[in-house]
């Protein structure tokens, strides 16, 4: 029996139970039906180097492209093999374990329809679900939620969406009510932000540069704050070390999972992690990217643990506004590129594979001779998840969730 046949029944049930009781009835209906899906979207702000995260170690042009910065199976540390062609950044053992047990999938050479190189515009396209950038008031996840209401799946009066962070990510903003949770501890300005500010001061205000430099030096001497450190209680004094970033990622993601796991909690959630704009000293095998991927891997573990029983009905989609240049730049980093990876994890996933129509890495195969060419529309992936996991109808996906995307067919088979 197709899913569409179920919908009227569910709607009748909901109406029959009386609007007043709709909220309290919801979880039971969901359970009676045997499914109560959760979707969490994590936006990596700053554009992730997909090649530094998931390396095409089987591509003959891989080593010549990245030289001694290429992740390798016999590298130091060795990359984690995914299949005969791709290997995972060694900072992500949790993701590797999930992948091996079929609870994670990786989409490679993917991109939104955005082809320029502005973070802001790229993030707008990614989160709004629209083809073109521009300040928009709603995101695709929120509109998907509204569509689900018509199917009676979600109580329209309750907040069935969760935003993590003091600002709700655009992807989940919109007319469907959203509840938000703000982590107690501030995440101080990232090292990247400090470096950029220092650079700005060095060009414009030497006095301010001196002060900021001294502060950064102090932070690096202090290392990461620990217990018993008098400064650790004060978020503004603690150095923005990677330990702090790891703690923040795990706390934020773990909390999202705790809420999503509740029988009467929200069913979709969204959050953003910053710091992925790795122009200098990217450090895929150690350093900034390695550290961030490790923190993200820790967040995956926190989600899995905190989801408890609901893990088997969970899908987490980790996406970014675009990728980074295929080649390493002059400052041992990468610049704004196009094609990148998306991570999908969750107990509800049909994983254990890298999904990619591999474009190749020869100069002529790169986009504009600089970026990994996108061969998979990220919207196809997201539409596949929304259709098969949250049961949003395909025409709604094409018209209101991702307007003008009728040509982009939902990717099937992602969900178990």
């Amino acid at each position: 029996m197709g899913l569409v046949n179920h919908l009227p029944t569910r709607r009748e049930l909901l109406v029959g139970s009386g609007a007043l009781f709709a909220w309290s009835q919801m979880p039971r209906i969901a359970r009676a039906e045997g499914r109560d899906p959760r979707l969490l979207v994590i936006v990596l702000r700053g554009a992730l180097d997909g090649l530094g995260a998931v390396a095409p170690v089987g591509d003959p042009d891989w080593v010549s492209l990245r030289g001694d910065r290429a992740l390798l199976l016999d590298g130091k540390p060795p990359a984690l093999p995914l299949d005969t062609f791709f290997a995972l950044n060694p900072a992500m053992p949790n993701l590797h374990r999930l992948y091996k047990s079929g609870k994670a999938a990786i989409v490679h050479a993917a991109a939104t329809p955005y082809r320029e190189r502005s973070h802001f515009d790229g993030q707008d396209v990614l989160e709004s679900g629209l083809v073109k950038p521009g300040m928009t008031s709603s995101g695709w996840l929120n509109r998907a939620l509204l569509a689900m209401e018509s199917g009676g799946r979600v109580d329209p009066r309750g907040s069935r969406a969760l935003g993590i962070g003091s600002v709700t990510p655009l992807v989940v903003r919109g007319s469907a009510p959203v509840m938000t949770w703000v982590p107690q501890k501030l995440l101080p300005a990232s090292e990247d932000t400090q470096n950029r500010l220092l650079d700005l001061y060095q060009h414009t205000d030497p006095k301010l540069a001196t002060v900021l430099q001294a502060r950064m030096k102090l932070a690096s001497l202090g290392g990461s704050p620990g217990k018993g450190d008098a400064m650790s209680d004060d978020p503004t004094l603690a150095p923005p070390g990677i330990a702090r970033v790891r703690a923040y990622f795990a706390e934020a993601a773990g909390t999202a999972a705790r809420y999503l796991a509740k029988p009467d909690g929200p069913r979709v959630g969204a959050m953003g992690f910053v710091g992925w704009d790795t122009h200098i000293a990217e450090g895929a095998a150690s350093g900034q990217l390695y550290n961030l991927l490790g923190a993200l891997d820790g967040a995956f573990a926190a989600i899995e643990t905190n989801m408890g029983e609901a893990w088997k009905e969970t899908v987490v989609a980790v996406v970014t506004e675009f990728g980074r240049t295929a080649r390493i730049n002059g400052t041992q980093g990468t610049d704004h590129g196009t094609g990148t990876v998306a991570f999908l994890i969750g107990g509800g996933l049909a994983g254990g594979r890298v999904i990619a129509d591999w474009p190749g890495l020869k100069p002529a195969q790169l986009l504009e001779d600089r970026d990994l060419k996108p061969t998979t529309d990220l919207r196809a992936v997201l539409k596949g998840l929304l259709r098969d996991h949250l049961r949003v109808e395909e025409n709604v996906l094409a018209e209101t969730v991702f307007p003008g995307s009728a040509d982009v067919k939902p990717m099937g088979g992602l969900v178990a």
Partner: protein
């Protein structure tokens, strides 16, 4: 508008106002000096303040709550003790069976005492302190006035004088906001002597500088009691408020002036439900007879004697120089051009301390405009500048005052009567903290503020090309906003 004209408008907003906000550049037009002066003619009254209590009312409210807390605490303590007495025989019996342990006994006693005290504290805490909500309402009103101002020159003057004549909310939270409204705001553009008389006669100041119970040795109260004179109030008036430190007054002048000021106090709040907390002159505390201050004899009786000294201090040339220097240092540069200071001091002397004319002299002088933006904005100015740039006009006072406190400039809570300092050296080490605050604020507003719009529309592109570039290349709107707010263009004025 030419770029040079735009630059002067932006400088006017930064240096003399609260910083650009959407529409403010267009509103100023082509004559920024004229616009600054015109703003001084608009009334400085806060219409929303009508709903806030006067300082005396606020003080009575807190005193009343304190009285009720004390009564409740006493009651709870007595009750706890009664219960312990009732339970005591059992405890004694237990102890009788075991060898006496003096140490344990002592501990038991102290636990009982602690329990009574804890009960008292809990009972007291059940009545919340009304001082803090009053403080927060005042903070909200003041901040929103700064956010709403077209330019904010007049508001900056209120802030300046409030800091010059500071009191501390750490000592007198309930009155701190009303003090500023009643004494400072109402007189910030009048003659200095009127401002001086208003602040020194305000109950909050008398409380803050310990004058309430200062009494002359030969006053009625002084003869009957062992307490006596407190020099604090008189010294700070001369050192900080008027003449300036090391300007020729002696310790004898301080003592004489302190004697003059005895009896300046307030109506006890509990004694008078109508006027409790208001200024009063209590002759029983006042040192009788004449006093000599700075070589002049003051034979007046009651509070008129003090007013006469204050009038003379206001007219003293040292006061003109002190005030002119502080104003120019605050608005223009840590080391202000001497010619500018002299011009302002001259206006002060020529106009008998007309503060509006002094302000006009300042903004009319080329010396006030010539230097590059070198002043590091104080934390409060910087935070308000950030919020203004986004167009936000309503604040959550808890969050806002918390942010200012984090940056070392807690609203109405300076650590000493000198107020918050103005020089860069005092604030520059806090720039790292500002980054975290900027980062946090940027995260909160990233959905409603566009850094490019702020640069183009709010700042009319009057910002260093390096800043534009850094903002354009940032990895997120949050980072772009944080870099913009932290830029020298934003922090210096």
């Amino acid at each position: 508008m030419s770029n040079a004209a735009k630059a002067e408008v932006v400088l006017a907003l930064h240096r003399f106002g609260m910083g650009p906000r959407p529409g403010s550049i267009a509103a100023i037009g082509t004559d920024p000096r004229g616009a600054l002066i015109a703003e001084l003619d608009r009334p400085l009254v806060l219409s929303a303040a009508a709903s806030l209590p006067s300082s005396a009312k606020a003080y009575r409210t807190v005193a009343d709550a304190n009285a009720r807390r004390t009564a409740r605490a006493k009651q709870a303590q007595q009750q706890a003790k009664k219960q312990q007495m009732a339970a005591a025989p059992v405890a004694a019996g237990d102890q009788g069976q075991a060898p006496a342990q003096p140490e344990g006994q002592a501990q038991g006693y102290s636990q009982e005492k602690d329990a009574a005290e804890m009960a008292a504290k809990q009972a007291a805490d059940a009545i919340p302190d009304p001082g803090r909500p009053i403080y927060l309402q005042e903070a909200k009103l003041r901040t929103e006035a700064a956010l709403a101002a077209d330019i904010g020159f007049a508001e900056r003057l209120v802030w300046f004088w409030s800091n010059h004549f500071c009191v501390s909310a750490n000592r007198i939270q309930s009155m701190s906001g009303a003090y500023e409204r009643e004494a400072v705001r109402a007189n910030a553009l009048c003659r200095f002597v009127d401002l001086l008389l208003a602040v020194e006669g305000h109950p909050a100041m008398l409380f803050y500088l310990d004058n309430l119970e200062s009494m002359g040795a030969n006053s009625t109260a002084g003869i009957n009691r062992s307490r006596g004179l407190n020099e604090n109030f008189a010294r700070e008036i001369m050192e900080l408020h008027t003449l300036g430190v090391r300007t020729g007054y002696t310790q004898d002048d301080v003592i004489s002036f302190a004697n003059v000021l005895t009896g300046w106090t307030l109506v006890p709040p509990g004694a008078d439900p109508q006027h409790g907390g208001e200024f009063t002159f209590n002759p029983r505390l006042h040192e009788p007879g004449g006093q000599t201050v700075l070589g002049r004899r003051y034979e007046q009786e009651d509070a008129e004697q003090g007013r006469a000294v204050l009038r003379d201090l206001a007219a003293n040339p040292a006061t003109a120089t002190h005030v002119a220097t502080k104003l120019a240092r605050h608005f223009v540069a840590d080391e202000p051009p001497p010619a500018l200071v002299e011009q302002m001091a001259k206006t002060f002397r020529d106009t008998e301390g007309d503060l509006k004319q002094v302000a006009i002299t300042m903004v009319s002088s080329d010396d006030a405009w010539r230097g590059p933006p070198s002043k590091l904005r104080r934390p409060g100015e910087w935070v308000v500048g950030m919020v203004r740039a986004t167009g936000i006009t309503v604040v959550d006072p808890v969050r806002f005052t918390g942010g200012q406190e984090l940056l070392g400039e807690a609203l109405w809570r300076p650590s000493a009567p000198k107020g918050y300092p103005d020089e860069e050296a005092s604030w520059i080490d806090g720039v790292g903290r500002r980054l975290d605050v900027a980062n946090y604020f940027a995260e909160r507003i990233t959905g409603m503020a566009d850094p490019q719009v702020i640069i183009e529309d709010v700042f009319a592109s009057q910002i260093a090309p390096e800043v534009k570039q850094a903002v354009g290349r940032a990895e997120s709107r949050q980072q772009a906003l944080a870099l913009l707010f932290m830029s020298a263009d934003f922090q210096r004025r």
